[in-house]
Symmetry: D2
Subunit: 353 residues, 4 copies
């Protein structure tokens, strides 16, 4: 059976996860080329050995052994890499989001539709085993007709303020995972967004023009709704819970904890905290999404997390920001009508093509 | 020590609870007179023995042995009873709400402020031991500065459609408890309401002009928020949970269950359902509120659940309905400005005085 | 319908519980006479009002309005009261145990068999709602054929050393409840006992000739077994759990806690402790056993907790002590053969009749 | 830094786990030679590639690149492999037990003491993260002075009857893990054993001369005790729990479950079962023990799970069987005095040396 040759763009935190996962867990895929502007050829080879390396991503993308490209570079570099990979007819796995600009995202989604390449977006949480099982339960009708989904999504701590400045903001950077989760779990499209945001964790976030606390209500096409509450900091760890309520019951997905030990003493009954690092909490999901991507390439199966999904989540994020600013519910169709207005970042693609 | 003589108006479900609680648990209070239009003197005495009884509530209210009146009659009768009791300078415990009309509620609140009587409103959930303990924890700062309170409030089943028709609607009849709970737990006032409602449980509710499913976002004066999700029917029982999240931690109040038994078998790990009847779930809260009322009378302490609290919750309910209808966030101050418009029931007090 | 006249012997802690329960919850029974050597007629009437009182229990037992006697006096007084009540043909509810002497217990059990009176033993835990539900589950075969029952039974704190000196020892005073629970839950007789005991809580217990920590293995007639671990002190509250394991599954009965609140903070996830006072933990069981007793009298139903049950539990307690002392498993039939030896207290009935 | 060359004896289920773990997770160790009588050189190389292979274990043990030997063959082959590895001065990781014969175990333990090789026994459960954390908690004194440890250890299903016939019996094959855990968690030696056994799962087990259900009481040198209940089959999965109770509190180690999802519906509240396969349940422990072994070799640290530990657990298993057969508590010192009697297997070493 053919082995998929993979070109990895970006050897940061997430790039390393995928590198290691492919090395250890997949017989049918192999990292054959790597690009990262922060490494020299020498420093790369010291750690990673005899693999083709270039500071220039196009050399990796166009490498004849490369069948598929993993885009793990910073968000600002995604659009160009996506364009190049499509140009070279390479399959693509791209970390979310495609781009901070809605217009660019729209254009890239169009482009992807036209090419024959397989493009999978890295909404890894869809591949968390508990969430997958939860969706299976919901889809099987075990909670009946769903009336509401409630997502609690709180990070264990603030990222650096510099990161926040370039993140596109809480809705685009953090809540976008939850917007995708809501769509995935409910299997419905969102038509309206009402969002509120606050600076409660650190004034510096506000100074950087962002919020660190948010509450978002999504209305689906059938009138049912989602509620998502976000915080950049929960002192007790990474809080990632989902509750789905329907006329047949309720499903809760609870947090993983450090351990299953319970201590009883004079002051109470004590358990360990939820896992506090996204790479621990979602370790299996990174493996799961890669498994799905490689399986789609090897066996020519359809991709299940598409550019269209990324675009849908991006629209919700844009609408959430607008809703917060204008203090009113915003309809998704507005975003498409007004989406290229001054309030929204212009396309980033000119500079690229 | 003086024993408080109590006149009970209304021997329905809730009136009977208070009757029995006073009989069994309080040495310092005694039911001395009862009014209920559905009993005859004979039928009353057969069951309850030698206590003054009248079909005419004013005979009970004005009875010389009556120091305080418990208003347990249907909502539509509350306003008149409140007026009469204040007229006769009797202390009052009144089931919520004062009245379905905001204007009447405002007028009665004014009236209560002017008289010297103690008037306590029956927001019993404040006296649930778990919620009391939770508030104590929050007030003690154990979750830090609070950022969000999430209330899940789902009934175990639909009330009769006839009840719904006269209930004032889901927000006024059911969610009003949660609006009060949000204010009580957070110790802050609400300034804005955004609400959505659906008919998901039974079409007949929609035909009756009401909703059975709702999602309400409250914004407090400091910009923090509450989310409340309501349903008239949870197949798994009475779902009454609260979550308070702050920069120092999170507090959850979980449901009581029928028992603490856990069955492991081939199909899973199984526990018993939440209690499914409000009189079981909140049994202790009915006792607790009465204890507080009698204590306030005997020891001349201030009432902690006032007409002002009832008015505040009523305003939120009115704003929620308006928000749902006009699909926009509604500010509480709007309600007071526009509160006597056609959209809102006129005062019921003319007919009474 | 006839009301049962009840004579109460002993107004201690447990006597007061039954007094109050009968007063508040039962229409078909009334306390008509009370005996307690520690009250004067005046002091009794000040608190309890116009009820027949005597320091002499026989005046209460023989009182013509007394249909049934509640024996709530110290254990050392039980045997005589039981004899007198049987003599006067009064029905009896007797706190456990009948007597510390096995021989006396045997003789009283014989006597009870001969008379026509209904005699119920106060193994209240059988009437705890969770344990009742658990037994129902086990009897319904929901864990299949039972292989083992594990009982954890730890008190929240040491009783006074003077109490311990007269208690008959941990097995007779404390573990006897668990021996009865094992028989009740399994519906089988015990044939062998292996017990170990330690002084781990307080040296003074050892000085008083008793242990405060024990582990007992019971073997049932079919070869299956129970394990019971006892401690006089668990710093985290009253620990009363049961686990039943069979070839179809496992049932756990967990502790009740003070509340259902959960606090998440930097140090962990924290819950409230188990209830720590037997009168709170087992409040419903005291009511339940009285309900059963009164129902048996009013409707002439059979008693379900008999003198035979008390005798069986007493035999296990005697065997446990012997096993601990002789460091070997002891068969119950040995106890009956050797039960009247020097190691076992002689009958207390001579002094009484 | 030096890389440890490892020779693997036995490519069965457990051998494969270690093979894969060393391949994926350890930079400082490498499998350099493999022996397994069931593979041919060709069939081995097809799957595992270019690694030295022999059907003859001595060729692997004596291979110059082999620094350490992993003994993963059937129990009956352990003694000979241990002898050979010690003869060739190779370090050893050996799956439990050393041998079914107590005498052989004693002799091998002596031999290990005399050689300079590092010998680690594969009591993998000591390296389960939850149990490690639990021990840390106990050792830190967080439950105070320990009074009792309770271990529940139930397999998800019966092994094949042929396996059982050669297993040495439930105590030696299955409970031995729990005996080791009791010693490890309590950090004390066992002086007495009282055990009971039954055939409750499958009559065929009895026909094979074994039991499938057991209850064992261990007494430690300070008089405190452990209780272990074993079953070969729990229909709800692999039940592996520990409870440690002391005068400062209680620690519980609960089961891992398939997922953290909770379904509420009309029939109850439902969770997923405990993991049901030992390789899933203890996956991390296999990795952990290997990490510890390799670390001990690379950094010349002492081994923490020694031949002495294996001997201690073996003695308890022998005593448990004797206790069950003779229906009396058996002291460990008896085993050493009488351990070579007809009841106990003679040494297997003659045939080997």
């Amino acid at each position: 059976m053919k082995t998929i040759g993979i070109g990895l763009l970006g050897l940061g935190r997430i790039g390393k996860i995928h590198f290691r996962n492919i090395l250890h867990y997949f017989d049918q895929a192999r990292i054959v080329a790597v690009a990262d502007p922060l490494y020299s050829k020498t420093s790369f080879e010291e750690t990673y050995g005899n693999i083709f390396f270039s500071k220039n991503e196009e050399e990796v993308i166009s490498h004849p052994d490369v069948d598929a490209v993993l885009i793990c570079s910073p968000t600002s570099a995604h659009a160009k890499s996506l364009q190049l990979a499509m140009l070279h007819k390479k399959h693509i796995f791209c970390e979310k989001p495609m781009d901070l600009s809605l217009q660019t995202t729209v254009e890239l989604t169009e482009m992807a539709r036209e090419t024959q390449v397989k493009l999978m977006m890295g909404f890894n949480r869809r591949f968390d085993p508990d969430f997958m099982k939860a969706r299976e339960t919901v889809v099987a009708g075990k909670v009946g007709k769903v009336q509401i989904i409630k997502i609690t999504s709180r990070d264990p701590g603030l990222p650096p303020i510099d990161y926040i400045k370039n993140s596109g903001g809480l809705f685009m950077d953090m809540a976008i995972h939850d917007f995708d989760m809501a769509r995935y779990m409910m299997n419905k499209n969102v038509v309206e967004v009402f969002a509120k945001g606050l600076v409660m964790v650190d004034k510096a976030v506000g100074d950087a023009g962002d919020i660190d606390t948010a509450l978002t209500t999504l209305t689906f096409e059938d009138g049912t709704y989602a509620v998502i509450d976000n915080s950049r900091k929960a002192v007790y760890g990474y809080d990632q819970r989902i509750e789905v309520f329907g006329n047949g019951g309720m499903l809760q997905v609870e947090n993983n904890q450090h351990n299953r030990n319970i201590l009883y003493n004079e002051t109470g009954i004590h358990q360990s905290l939820p896992l506090d690092f996204f790479m621990d909490r979602y370790a299996e999901s990174y493996l799961g999404e890669m498994k799905m991507f490689i399986d789609a390439l090897v066996n020519n199966k359809p991709i299940t997390v598409t550019a269209g999904d990324a675009l849908a989540a991006t629209k919700i994020a844009v609408a959430a920001k607008l809703s917060m600013e204008e203090q009113r519910p915003v309809r998704i169709e507005e975003i498409m009508e007004n989406g290229f207005s001054a309030k929204v970042r212009p396309s980033q693609l000119e500079a690229v093509a």
